[in-house]
């Protein structure tokens, strides 16, 4: 089968567009979508100059998504003095699994000559996920603790680096799953938060003081294409699944989404197109007077929070109390 755009052999079929693409045009297509998202999200504002560059902190796990994101951003902006990339890897204390993916991160950042720092739950919170799943003081899924801890460290280090943006490797499937979960849970407030946290254009978000704006430049690229891109370019990627992975509802949604996509190509794209509008409306609604969420400083760690003690400190205390 020939490529839709040239006479080379196709390596993939994108049913949602009808295109068959060769390796060259497939790579170009992925890179173009990432660069278009960077432009459309206005990630690099006109105020950035070589004298006053933007610092972008990339959350680099060593999995395919964050590795592909880091590689493409590096190739796009390495020669642009208006952008400085810094990669941050979080070690959750998951023996075997995270050790190997940290190796992938170190290989990539050494290859690309990008500043890279590894931080751990052990050093920051005196907590390791392997122990948390054993004690489980709040009777929750492992991901529920881990997500809170990881977001806290990404935010804290983004502030520490005085980063202008915090970038993560969420792909189209991740975002469409989150969108469907919010719809099925009927959680319009969560849609509003999703818009303000990472989906909306920066100038339309309800930005919160003390929080680095987040963006997801891979969010137009289906998960399989991110993986195929990494495979074709032979990027250093750690492929294993987290041994504590336990988001049962997300798994059900993923199965549903993939079978819908199979029967109706383009479903993921149309979900996101409609959801972004809905999330914008929800954000507008929750911004009405009397509904504003003023942030305090956590009395334990100083992080911005709507409570007295932030969620991260609450969970860390619970884990330590259960020891």
């Amino acid at each position: 089968m020939e490529c839709t755009k040239c006479d080379r052999e196709a390596v993939m079929h994108a049913a949602y567009s009808g295109n068959h693409l060769c390796e060259h045009h497939f790579r170009e297509s992925v890179e173009r979508r990432v660069r278009r998202r960077v432009r459309e999200d206005d990630l690099l504002p006109s105020s950035a100059t070589p004298e006053d560059p933007q610092t972008w902190l990339v959350g680099l796990s060593g999995g395919k998504d964050s590795v592909v994101l880091t590689q493409i951003l590096h190739e796009t902006f390495a020669d642009d003095p208006r952008v400085e990339l810094v990669a941050l890897t979080v070690h959750e204390g998951i023996a075997g699994y995270r050790d190997k993916s940290v190796d992938a991160c170190e290989e990539l950042t050494a290859d690309l000559d990008i500043a890279h720092e590894v931080v751990s739950y052990a050093e920051e919170f005196d907590v390791e996920m392997d122990d948390v799943v054993e004690s489980d003081p709040e009777n929750m899924a492992a991901c529920a603790y881990c997500g809170v801890f990881r977001r806290d460290l990404l935010s804290k280090y983004a502030q520490g680096y005085e980063a202008d943006k915090l970038l993560t490797g969420h792909n189209l499937d991740d975002e469409a799953e989150t969108a469907l979960m919010n719809v099925f849970e009927g959680n319009t407030e969560q849609m509003a938060k999703h818009f303000d946290a990472s989906l909306g254009p920066f100038d339309e978000r309800n930005a919160q003081a003390g929080m680095t704006p987040r963006a997801k430049p891979l969010r137009d690229v289906p998960e399989k294409e991110v993986a195929l891109y990494a495979q074709l370019r032979d990027l250093p990627v750690h492929m294993a699944e987290c041994p504590h992975s336990s988001e049962a509802f997300r798994g059900e949604i993923q199965d549903l989404l993939l079978s819908l996509e199979e029967a109706h190509p383009g479903t993921r794209h149309s979900i996101m197109a409609g959801y972004e509008e809905l999330a914008a409306m929800a954000a507008e609604r929750y911004r009405s007077p009397g509904d504003e969420s003023d942030l305090n400083e956590c009395v334990e760690c100083g992080a911005p929070t709507t409570r007295e003690v932030c969620r991260k400190c609450y969970l860390v205390d619970a884990v330590h109390a259960a020891d």
């Binding site: 089968m1 052999e9 196709a10 390596v11 993939m12 079929h13 049913a15 068959h20 395919k64 499937d173 289906p222 998960e223 399989k224 993986a227 195929l228 495979q231 074709l232 492929m239 699944e241 992975s245 997300r250 798994g251 059900e252 949604i253 993923q254 199965d255 993939l258 079978s259 996509e261 199979e262």
Partner: protein
């Protein structure tokens, strides 16, 4: 045609197929084209194409739910 389908790190399956696509093979091993790469002679092939090789390797790219 007799086709051997090797799912890397998992099982090897054998099928007799006529006029099937690579996507049809994936369906028979209960995998979605959205979570794997189908490889023939070490190169990815589009899943909607007719099976032309007796040896097909399936690489899991995306963790299932």
């Amino acid at each position: 045609m007799h086709v051997t389908v090797e799912v890397v790190g998992e099982d090897v399956h054998e099928f007799d197929v006529e006029g099937a696509s690579y996507a049809d093979l994936l369906e028979r091993v209960d995998l979605s084209p959205h979570e794997v790469s189908v490889m023939v002679d070490g190169r990815p092939v589009p899943e909607d194409q007719p099976v032309e090789s007796e040896h097909v390797t399936v690489l899991r790219l995306v963790q299932g739910g």
